[in-house]
Symmetry: C2
Subunit: 218 residues, 2 copies
């Protein structure tokens, strides 16, 4: 069907598409895939021939319906496996990504349906990212960035934008996890950092950079 590599390109293009409404540039793909622009161009031609992307030279690319379907199905597999690893094999949330990166390419349809059933159709992965269903529909998330909360407001952490292990470990250290209750005690204008009261117990200080990578319930 599609090669491991093709699937990874489609996934990368999908992710980048969500950040702009224009076409995705060759360089941005190269950067994300940690490869060279010339390699990207070669692959774009191939994906275009397979009708997985819309591609005109120098114009940037968008996914076709078919391409989007493939991308979403890979993301679905990735997140279901992450959920499995954390819930059943006792992985930490900062350990699952590289393993799921491999598991997401296992081909069997039956496997992923049965896994979904076994896990009881989870809606969010361990990082709080939404898991699309079999038809490719995402659960409607009602969440805002932590930076958008106002002073005195209370909320619950739903997920993160950045999945790097180092970031997740830092959050663990601060005591910030999925489900943690937070209240904005103070917002500092000079650097946009925030003082948070967590679970009505201790207070922690988070930088703007950290806060903008955390989603809370709305």
């Amino acid at each position: 069907m599609h090669s491991y590599t093709e699937e990874n390109y489609l996934k990368a293009i999908y992710r980048l598409s969500n950040k702009t409404d224009k076409g995705v540039s060759t360089n941005s793909i190269a950067e994300r895939m940690e490869t060279k622009a010339s390699s990207v161009t070669d692959m774009l031609k191939k994906l275009s021939e397979k009708k997985l992307i819309n591609y005109k030279k120098y114009q940037g690319v968008t996914l076709t319906k078919k391409g989007k379907q493939v991308a979403v199905s890979i993301i679905r597999k990735h997140r279901l496996w992450e959920y499995f690893l954390v819930e059943h094999l006792n992985f930490n949330w900062d350990q699952v990504h590289p393993v799921a990166e491999e598991l997401e390419h296992i081909k069997s349809e039956l496997l992923i349906e049965r896994l979904d059933e076994f896990l009881n159709y989870p809606k969010y992965d361990p990082h709080g990212d939404p898991i699309p269903d079999k038809e490719g529909n995402f659960p409607i998330p009602s969440r805002i960035k932590l930076t958008e909360m106002s002073k005195g407001q209370k909320s619950v952490i739903l997920g993160v934008m950045e999945n790097a292990a180092s970031f997740l470990q830092y959050l663990d250290k601060l005591g910030l996890n999925i489900g943690t209750e937070v209240k904005v005690v103070e917002k500092h204008n000079f650097d946009n950092s925030i003082d948070l009261l967590i679970n009505n117990k201790q207070t922690v200080h988070v930088s703007h950079e950290v806060a903008r990578n955390i989603f809370v319930s709305n």
Copy 2:
């Protein structure tokens, strides 16, 4: 580390080694891998350079200690995944092989250790094949072929030698599964077929070809 393809060659050589005490021939590998002898030769050179096999031109190959370790670890992963698929995802025993064939190449050490723990350290896969432990040691099997049973003897089915889906489905139809109690009612000399009483209920007739692919407890 080792490529998907290298791992498959090592697995094939390991399996073939168990059938002869001489070195494994190029042609036999080619047949098993459904590839051409010339491709096999190329790969043998590569595996030899990596010290995974002992190879001298025209002589046939054997696995080195290192090569055997890799092969056994792949088999371990394959069988643990098969067990998972049948026990937790409700796969039938004739559906698991192709999926496990992919899953066995997932690299994470932690994954397979945790999976083993989650499954409660099973000793046999759904086909009755022994699962080596982390150190590569197989459980000592005490089993004989169904063809070796004598008239009147009672026993329990422990496993099969042939894993083709069509064969497994045929066994299902006959009512023969892992754990099924069988008693040899009659052995027919002219074609070596056997009449079996299963679970003290119905009697079935199995050909020599079928019987020699079934393992029973000793």
